[in-house]
């Protein structure tokens, strides 16, 4: 049950930033993640600062350089359905389209998706885990089938977002506003590795608000895709996912980014896979090697070793698809 909190809806970004700097304040965007966390008593809030009145924060705009700006308050549905996104960055459109369920996509926003809390059942349940200021990660000796195979260190969550890996694969940046001004930051540097701080999910500072995401222009030959495997076909988080952004030169991979979802506490770039692919022709031998490389350094826990063949198989399937284009 929700505990009491104050609710404010500032009319300007400045006021919003100001309202966030006092007490235990949280940004309320679509509320689909935040209200669940409050209701489940994962954390508390004295004040919710709604961004709903900040019209400028919603919508997609093509930028002068041929890239795309997506406001933080843009709904996930709007991203998935946008013709420009579908045409230039199909991987992003696919990732957005695979999020949750239609209702949640209509209500959930881009900013909220990037900043959502992990879905670990120990973190969300009544376990005093490390991420909540406790002393240990309960997944280590517990039910860790949905936990990470990379980057675990002290806390073994997987990052729940489908959109973040797609944005990392496209080399997107966020733009923020905050008490000490704004900044730009690659999405690949937004999320906090647990070994640095297991109690935070992002590197945003107190009071810092994501204003928009900038996706750079699609280079010629860009092939992007997002693939998600889950145990049911809607309203479900990934058990494995991958975002591919391959810059093709004929059938040769000129450059690439391969980002795994549900693999690690943060969207997980796979330099091993990228290295195999870069400069190579996408033939089956390369594809097999690349898929294998993705999991070569995985460190499964007691109950999630299945993720190794799963990621490998999924990458095989996705890279073969890419090779057929």
């Amino acid at each position: 049950m929700l505990t009491p909190f104050a609710y404010v809806r500032p009319a300007s970004l400045q006021d919003a930033v100001a309202a966030l700097t006092e007490g235990n304040a949280h940004i309320h965007a679509g509320g689909t993640d935040l209200l669940g966390c409050l209701r489940d008593e994962v954390f508390g809030a004295d004040r919710l600062v709604s961004l709903a009145a900040l019209g400028d924060l919603a919508g997609l705009r093509e930028t002068r350089d041929g890239g795309l700006d997506i406001g933080a308050m843009t709904t996930i549905t709007d991203i998935a359905a946008h013709p420009l996104v579908q045409r230039r960055y199909p991987g992003l459109a696919q990732a957005a389209g695979e999020v949750a369920s239609p209702q949640l996509r209509n209500q959930g926003t881009l900013g909220g998706n990037l900043c959502q809390k992990p879905r670990c059942w120990y973190y969300r349940g009544d376990f005093p885990c490390l991420r909540k200021g406790g002393h240990k990660c309960f997944a280590v000796n517990g039910e860790n089938e949905y936990h990470c195979i990379f980057g675990g260190a002290n806390c073994f969550i997987v990052h729940p977002s489908d959109i973040a890996p797609a944005l990392v694969s496209l080399d997107a940046e966020i733009e923020t506003a905050g008490p000490s001004g704004g900044r730009r930051l690659p999405v690949s540097q937004l999320h906090m590795p647990p070994e640095q701080d297991p109690t935070r999910e992002t590197l945003l500072k107190p009071g810092e608000v994501i204003v928009k995401v900038h996706v750079p222009p699609a280079p010629a030959g860009l092939y992007s895709s997002y693939r998600k495997v889950r145990t049911r076909r809607s309203w479900d988080f990934a058990v494995a996912g991958c975002a591919l952004a391959l810059v093709m030169d004929g059938d040769r991979v000129r450059d690439c980014r391969v980002v795994l979802a549900a693999a690690a506490p943060i969207p997980w770039r796979s330099p091993e896979t990228e290295q195999v692919l870069r400069g190579q022709t996408l033939d089956d031998a390369v594809i097999r090697k690349a898929a294998k490389a993705a999991v070569a350094n995985a460190r499964p826990m007691t109950k999630n070793a299945y993720k190794i063949p799963l990621f490998e198989g999924m990458l095989l399937e996705e890279l073969r698809k890419a090779a057929q284009v």
Binding site: S101, N141, V229, T231, R232, F237, Y306, G313, E317
Partner: protein
């Protein structure tokens, strides 16, 4: 559904109802209303939101209650301090073991009785204290302010661990909650006659009850009379439990349950919440509403227990089964609650086999007590037995349909070989296979497989022991002067369309539209006793009583017509809403009967008669399924399913098909997504919400689900010719899916659920 057979077969026999025509004839082929596709009589109420479910109810002055549950798998409450909670704004009452006057005896239907708020909480979520407050938020704030000290005790949450020596004891005396054996023929001889013997272990995970409307009620006292509005399958079952625990006469407890937002066996009985609501309401002298949170429904409101089953079966080259040996371990939970209830029934009853032995072990674990769950035992057993049948067919090189057809029994072998009243099992398998295109699909599966996308086709069959229904049930039908009617019955409509089906029965008899039938039901204050709606017995129990009540009315109408027309009774027959003479010369509408116009109403009472002796009235089912398995990711896509059911007469084709689609949907969840996860180190429930406990979504159900009813009437069964359907529709689903997946992969998975998490390692290991 009832826990054991005697609940159904041991009913008292009821004398023929006064006034009912004892010459009640079956309807025959020609029916006007019965057999149609009829939308729900309460469709508008349900769709518009006008229907008041118990959880919607708001009464003047009503308070909201909440229950504090133990957060530990096994703990002793050593101290409770509620003083801070009591002083919080809006809080009216706090009860716990510190309020002995509000802590009656309570037992979880087992020998281990205790108190409502018991010192020893043997499962997570068991009640420790409860609060009534002005708002639900205040009630929950107050729960947070209650200080409880627990002594945390060792626990065991896995039924196999629980049986090992040295395992923590849930109750002193060991964790065996019960054992049961059954044997017929000579099992050793059976195996020695076999050309092929296979043995395999199977496991089904616990499936949790989580109906859309959580469990709960609103309680209100008027003086020393209590009224409870509860989301329940049976108002009379709630009434007797409350009366029993609170030591009230039945006449002081009225239970009303007009709408129920899903139940599936979990609301056959009430639970602590009804007692708590009543106690709080009495303390504060106001109505109190208490509904479980979603987490509490998942923690405390029942489950289909996990099962570990070993099947050893022998078969001759020609497909004749010679021996079936079945052993099953199930977990009741912290109190005895049918952990192995009906678990071996399909093994001993579905296919013809002379030599059978079964052995069941029910186990205590530190988790909530199990509850009946849509075809208890059968769904688990089907997973094992139907996979074993396919494995035997594979071993013999025989088609799985053919193997089953060679082992169709003529009667119920587990119940004294009583002959079945129909050849339903054969009909379901044959007609279903034909309609599905079994042979073609099976043969074409390999051809339709492309690379890592492998096609498979599978099937499974079932019967269900309790689809006959039976007494007691008493129904009253009133016919008004204008020819419309009021139907008064005790049974609940748990969302299956009971009201609609019964209105159709009345409409058939009086020649009116079902909308002309007013229904009064599920209220112990105004209706007659009925058993809970469960066990797939509601239609075969209530519909005959409803029809008999109508016939009792019609018998009186015949007298009236005879008098009015000056003809002997024998010369008058019903024709829709008219009565006419057999010579066709005279006819008069029911509403033109002088006597009826004067006396304004004719009342008929109908009672459910006993079932015929010496036969077994059993519904049958078969399901067929086509899947595509991605061998790179372990994803299973269900392409299409077909369900053929023989449940006697189809009264309403829409509600029939609705049951099938719902049953298949539930089976899809059982086969592919649902699984209770208890944390190893703490025993606590990990997946206590709807994103972690994964019910199937519409996208998980195949786009093509075909219903193929066997169109017959089972006229020996009862005077409407219908048998139960609600459980047979879900029994074979998971086994059919498992068989289709095995056909696709050429490799079997023995544990539920089947999805990428459980499948991919096995497939990858084989490919490597």
């Amino acid at each position: 559904m009832a826990d054991n057979e005697t609940d159904i077969e041991g009913q008292p026999r009821i004398a023929p109802d006064a006034g009912a025509a004892d010459d009640a004839r079956p309807w025959g082929e020609q029916t006007r209303v019965v057999g149609n596709r009829r939308p729900r009589v309460d469709a508008w109420e349900r769709v518009s939101g006008a229907a008041v479910f118990p959880s919607d109810l708001v009464l003047p002055g009503m308070l909201h209650a909440a229950v504090l549950g133990s957060p530990h798998a096994n703990a002793r409450v050593t101290a409770i301090d509620t003083s801070r909670a009591e002083r919080m704004p809006g809080v009216y009452a706090v009860i716990s073991r510190n309020t002995p006057e509000a802590n009656p005896d309570w037992d979880y239907f087992s020998a281990h009785s205790g108190k409502l708020f018991y010192d020893h909480c043997r499962f997570e979520g068991d009640a420790v204290a409860a609060v009534a407050a002005q708002s639900p938020y205040q009630a929950h704030d107050a729960l947070r302010a209650i200080q409880v000290e627990y002594e945390i005790l060792p626990f065991v949450s896995d039924e196999l661990e629980a049986l090992k020596p040295g395992a923590p004891e849930v109750h002193s005396g060991g964790n065996r909650a019960g054992t049961q054996t059954y044997a017929r023929g000579n099992i050793e001889q059976g195996f020695s006659e076999a050309d092929l013997v296979l043995e395999q272990r199977y496991r089904t995970a616990s499936e949790m009850h989580t109906p859309l409307e959580p469990h709960g009620c609103v309680a209100r006292w008027d003086g020393d009379s209590l009224t409870v509005w509860e989301s329940t399958q049976g108002v009379y079952a709630v009434q007797s439990k409350i009366a029993d625990v609170l030591k009230l006469p039945l006449s002081r407890v009225r239970v009303i349950g007009h709408y129920v937002g899903g139940a599936f066996g979990s609301k056959l009985r009430t639970d602590k919440y009804a007692i708590i609501a009543a106690l709080l309401a009495r303390r504060v002298n106001r109505p109190v509403k208490l509904f479980m949170t979603r987490e509490q429904t998942l923690l405390t409101q029942g489950n289909r227990p996990p099962a570990t089953m070993t099947v050893k079966a022998g078969v001759k080259k020609d497909g004749t089964l010679t021996a079936i040996q079945f052993s099953g371990i199930g977990a009741s939970g912290a109190y005895k609650a049918g952990g192995t209830s009906l678990l071996d029934w399909l093994a001993k009853d579905l296919y013809r086999c002379a030599n059978v032995s079964t052995e069941l072990t029910d186990v205590y674990i530190n988790a909530q007590p199990a509850r009946p769950f849509r075809a208890p035992g059968y769904v688990q057993c089907s997973w094992a037995m139907e996979q074993m049948m396919d494995a035997l067919a594979d071993g013999l090189g025989m088609d799985p349909v053919e193997l089953r057809l060679r082992n169709i029994p003529a009667g119920t072998q587990a119940r004294d070989d009583k002959p079945y009243t129909t050849d339903g099992l054969r009909l379901c398998i044959e007609q279903g296979a034909r309609a599905f295109g079994w042979q073609e699909a099976r043969a074409a599966a390999a051809q339709h497989s492309k690379g890592h996308l492998q096609r498979g086709v599978g099937m499974a069959a079932a019967n269900w022991y309790a689809g006959d229904g039976g007494p007691p049930s008493t129904v009253i039908v009133r016919l008004y002067a204008d020819g419309t009617a009021n139907l008064n019955m005790g049974a609940s409509d748990i969302g299956t369309g009971t009201k609609t089906v019964m209105a159709m029965v009345v409409a058939e008899e009086f020649g009116v539209d079902p909308d002309a039938v007013q229904i009064e039901h599920a209220d112990t204050g105004t209706t007659q006793y009925a058993t809970p709606s469960g066990g797939s017995k509601t239609v075969p129990t209530e519909a005959p009583a409803v029809r008999r009540a109508c016939l009792a009315v019609k018998s009186q109408l015949l007298d009236m017509a005879a008098q009015q027309l000056g003809r002997p009774r024998e010369e008058i027959v019903f024709d829709g809403d008219h009565l006419r003479t057999t010579d066709g010369l005279e006819s008069l509408a029911i509403r033109e009967l002088d006597r009826l116009r004067k006396q304004k109403v004719v009342v008929g009472v109908g009672q459910r008669q006993s079932n015929p002796q010496g036969v077994s009235i059993t519904p049958f089912a078969a399901q067929f399924c086509e899947v595509e398995v991605n061998t790179l990711t372990g994803e299973v896509r269900l392409l299409r399913m077909l369900g053929s059911n023989e449940s006697g007469r189809v009264i309403n084709r829409l509600t029939w098909d609705g049951q099938l689609i719902g049953g298949i949907t539930m089976g899809v969840g059982y086969a592919t997504t649902e699984r209770r996860v208890l944390d190893g180190p703490t025993g606590k429930l990990c997946n206590k919400n709807w994103h972690d406990y994964k019910l199937p979504t519409t996208l998980d159900v195949p786009a093509e689900v075909i219903s193929e009813p066997i169109m017959l009437t089972d006229e020996q069964a009862n005077i409407v010719g219908a048998k139960g359907l609600g459980e047979p529709v879900t029994i074979p689903t998971a086994g059919a899916i498992a068989n289709a997946v095995a056909h696709a992969l050429g490799m079997r998975l023995y544990d539920t659920p089947i999805n990428p998490v459980t499948l991919i390692e096995r497939v990858a290991a084989r490919e490597a």
